[in-house]
């Protein structure tokens, strides 16, 4: 479970409010989709959850643990996929996964089982022994995704995880996301793909200029729009100004 309590973050000494008084709870077992125009505050929010950025005010907790005061414990529970897969290019894919397994303390049998499974699912087996610098953007995205799945975390934070993935990998990822939450995990992700959000998410939040302007299930969001159209229409209407 992720809880945001009046979280704020600004840049340029308070001149630009990236996230403005965000209060939100994402319970265990839920896939929460975070939508918003470019620069609305999605990535800033996700980065604050995993400790890449510090909030100016309010608090964020994971399973009741504050991400600032109990950072090490919350990091053990969480994995993250950034919006751009910047990984150690001079390591091979397998060395990188092994590194992640070591720092998260994944025992060897589980490590072998999960790595083998996901290399197969993402069709990355032939390349795993090569340096990551030889990978395409999509392959780098896949290795970062496998690294995020490897520790079997309770909470996954994904920033536009479908970008660069081929349709098969994208499908596999969506299945994984569903399985993760059906098993009691929490998944908080941002996306620009409305169809994915509409079909996959248990709840959706729309952030605009740092403020959460809408939040709910697809049914609840449809009630906002009189014509009860698609999520795309709802999104466009809400973020018009």
């Amino acid at each position: 479970m992720i809880e945001f309590d009046h979280v704020s973050k600004s840049y340029n000494k308070g001149k630009v409010k990236a996230v403005d008084d965000l209060t939100l709870t994402v319970p265990s077992g839920e896939i929460f989709g975070f939508l918003g125009p470019n620069g609305a505050g999605k990535t800033t929010t996700l980065k604050m959850v995993v400790g890449l950025l510090r909030s100016d005010g309010g608090s964020i907790s994971i399973n009741g643990l504050d991400v600032r005061t109990e950072a090490l414990k919350t990091k053990t529970l969480t994995t993250y996929v950034p919006d751009y897969p910047a990984v150690y290019e001079r390591l091979t894919g397998l060395e990188y996964l092994n590194f992640i397994g070591d720092v998260y303390g994944v025992p060897k049998p589980e490590r072998l089982e999960r790595i083998s499974k996901w290399l197969e699912v993402f069709e990355l087996g032939p390349a795993v022994g090569n340096p990551i610098q030889s990978y395409s953007h999509g392959m780098k995205q896949k290795i970062v995704l496998i690294a995020a799945i490897l520790p079997a975390p309770e909470v996954m934070i994904l920033d536009e995880p479908m970008v660069g993935l081929d349709p098969r990998a994208s499908h596999s990822l969506k299945e994984m996301m569903r399985e993760h939450c059906d098993a009691g995990g929490t998944l908080f992700f941002s996306t620009h793909i409305m169809e994915v959000a509409e079909k996959l998410c248990d709840r959706i939040g729309i952030i605009h200029k740092g403020r959460l302007i809408a939040c709910g299930t697809m049914e609840e969001l449809r009630r906002i729009d009189k014509e009860q159209q698609s999520l795309e229409h709802i999104f466009l209407e809400l973020t018009e100004t």
Binding site: K75, T76, T78, Y80, F99, V103, V106, K108, P126
Partner: protein
């Protein structure tokens, strides 16, 4: 031309981080604390500059009565050009072939030579700054002490502006050819390192050969001829690299026909090499680059058994992080050349230079003379040499910066900042140990110091290096440079490395003064060394403790 200027402007802004600096200082009001720090660093350099000017004045006054003062100019210009020739190699390889902005530049509608010349311009700007501390004081001293007129100052400015062109153009042509050749192979990184080392070895062999072949025979007639001409010492000094002699003659000749002719040769060769390099770039530059991308995807599919064998059965996080540091450092050619290999190359270069000179070089004789009078000096100088070889390489002071855009991984993993920095410390200290071992080998080979002094020197060097490693890490923790696109910026052009370097020199000078003070109090050598050892052990423990605390405070604050 307009396109080239646009490329150059973008390159300079990116290289010096001008836009980012302006944004952070003026708009975000961040890093304002850097302003007094940089001012402090500049002020602290003032005494060094003062001593340098004083030294130059003494040398000038020593050489002027025998009419050989122009050798001072040759020496300065030669030192600057040789420095650029040897170290420019890393700059050139890194900027031409490993800069990530190439992905953006290649698809642009510009010619290969325009891209390469713009990058050349950026390196040139860096070199002006790098050699300014060595060359400018010499040009200024020579002009002021010789009461030179305006022609000298104009020519001096021209000479300085052209100074890096010849060595950099030579290196660039070599690199163009090397990279074209390297791309025939599949292991480009290994070949780049081997190629770079080969060039360094060739440069050292050249130096060795010049020194051996130009030795003066102590013949009185030859000596008379030598001192009769004001040109003989510059000629001899500059025989390693003739452009420095041309520039000297141009500066001393002024508006005379001979002077202008030398200036013409100096400028002409610079321009011809530049044109040759541009022509070479047009033919070879992009071919070498395209090859870089082609050669990386290789290898075969690993079997399940191989994957299982290669997976560890659970290393401790510190060990995993140490391994990461070691692999990333040694697999990135620029990091390897400027870090791990530097600690080995520098002592070896010094040994070759010492061996290349007379059978008993001046430095060796000086050391023996000092040691014979005072055993403390022998230990301290040896320890200082080991420490300098081990510590002054930027491994510790770029430890966080080297992670660059991948620093997010260190921020999200469940390993405490204290442990993360401990792994970085172990890696940096191991590199420093390699330097100490290399320096020890050189000391044993060249100076044959007594075993007891040697053991004491190693003990002191290990303790001092421990403190300096912690200090280097602390500097990089305070202001890591993470937004680079060229790995060169993370280690070679990283201000943190310079700050740590100055701090290290300051600390070593402080220790030297402290020992001198204790020695003057009349304390025995062993008492001084014991006091020093105890203080160092205490400081090492303290620095380790403070580094851990600083890491705990800084890691959460570094936004990635």
């Amino acid at each position: 031309m307009r396109r080239f200027l646009a490329l150059l402007e973008a390159g300079l802004k990116s290289n010096f981080g001008l836009s980012v600096l302006r944004h952070r200082l003026l708009r975000q009001k961040k890093d304002l604390w850097m302003v007094p720090l940089v001012a402090l660093a500049a002020v602290s350099a003032a005494p060094l500059l003062y001593y340098y000017f004083t030294l130059l004045k003494s040398l000038y006054n020593l050489l002027a009565p025998i009419g050989q003062q122009a050798a001072l100019l040759t020496f300065g210009l030669l030192a600057g050009q040789l420095l650029i020739l040897i170290f420019g190699l890393f700059y050139v390889i890194s900027a031409f072939y490993f800069s990530k902005d190439l992905e953006v530049l290649i698809p642009l509608p510009v010619r290969p030579f325009q891209v390469m010349l713009s990058k050349f311009g950026v390196i040139l700007a860096n070199e002006y700054l790098t050699v300014s501390l060595i060359v400018l004081p010499i040009l200024i001293s020579f002009g002021v002490l010789g009461r030179r007129g305006p022609v000298y100052w104009i020519e001096a400015a021209l000479v300085y502006l052209l100074l890096p062109v010849i060595p950099l153009a030579l290196v660039s042509v070599l690199v163009l050819l090397l990279m074209r050749f390297v791309n025939l192979g599949r292991r480009k990184d290994a070949l780049i390192i081997v190629g770079s080392l080969l060039l360094i070895v060739l440069a050292m062999m050249f130096q060795f050969w010049i020194n051996r072949s130009s030795r003066l025979e102590p013949d009185s007639a030859a000596l008379v001829r030598f001192f009769a001409s004001p040109d003989s010492l510059p000629q001899k000094t500059g025989s390693t690299f003739p452009p420095s002699v041309w520039a000297t003659r141009a500066l001393t000749g002024g508006l005379s026909a001979a002077g202008l002719a030398q200036l013409l040769i100096y400028a002409g060769v610079s321009i011809i090499l530049l044109i040759g390099m541009a022509a070479g770039a047009e033919a070879l530059f992009y071919r070498g680059l395209v090859g870089l991308a082609e050669t990386s995807g290789r290898g075969r599919r690993l079997t399940g058994a191989e994957i299982s064998r290669r997976l560890s059965s659970g290393r401790r996080p510190i060990r995993a992080l140490f391994l990461r540091e070691w692999r990333l450092m040694n697999r990135t050619p620029i990091f390897l050349l400027n870090g791990t290999l530097t600690v080995i190359i520098i002592p070896v270069m010094l040994l070759v230079m010492a061996k290349a000179g007379s059978t008993d070089s001046d430095l060796t004789s000086l050391f023996r003379l000092l040691s014979s009078k005072n055993a403390l000096v022998s230990v301290l100088v040896s320890a200082g040499f080991m420490t300098i070889c081990g510590s002054l390489n930027g491994t510790a002071s770029s430890a966080l910066s080297r992670e660059g855009s991948q620093f997010w991984i260190s921020k999200i993993i469940p390993v405490s900042p204290r442990d993360q920095v401990a792994a970085k410390f172990l890696h940096s200290y191991l590199v420093a140990l390699l330097g100490i071992v290399a320096a020890s080998a050189v000391l044993l080979a060249q100076l044959r110091i007594p075993p007891a002094s040697f053991a004491l020197a190693i003990g002191l060097a290990l303790a001092v290096t421990f403190i300096l490693t912690a200090a280097g890490l602390a500097v990089d923790l305070a202001r890591p440079l993470l937004d680079w696109i060229n790995p060169q910026k993370a280690i070679k052009q990283n201000l943190n490395v310079l700050i740590a370097f100055l701090a290290d020199l300051g600390f070593l000078a402080f220790l030297g003064f402290a020992c001198r003070f204790l020695s003057r109090l009349g304390l025995a050598v062993h008492a001084v060394l014991l006091a020093l050892g105890l203080v160092l052990v205490f400081l090492a423990g303290l620095s380790w403790h403070l580094l851990g605390k600083f890491a705990e405070a800084r890691y959460p604050a570094i936004e990635a």
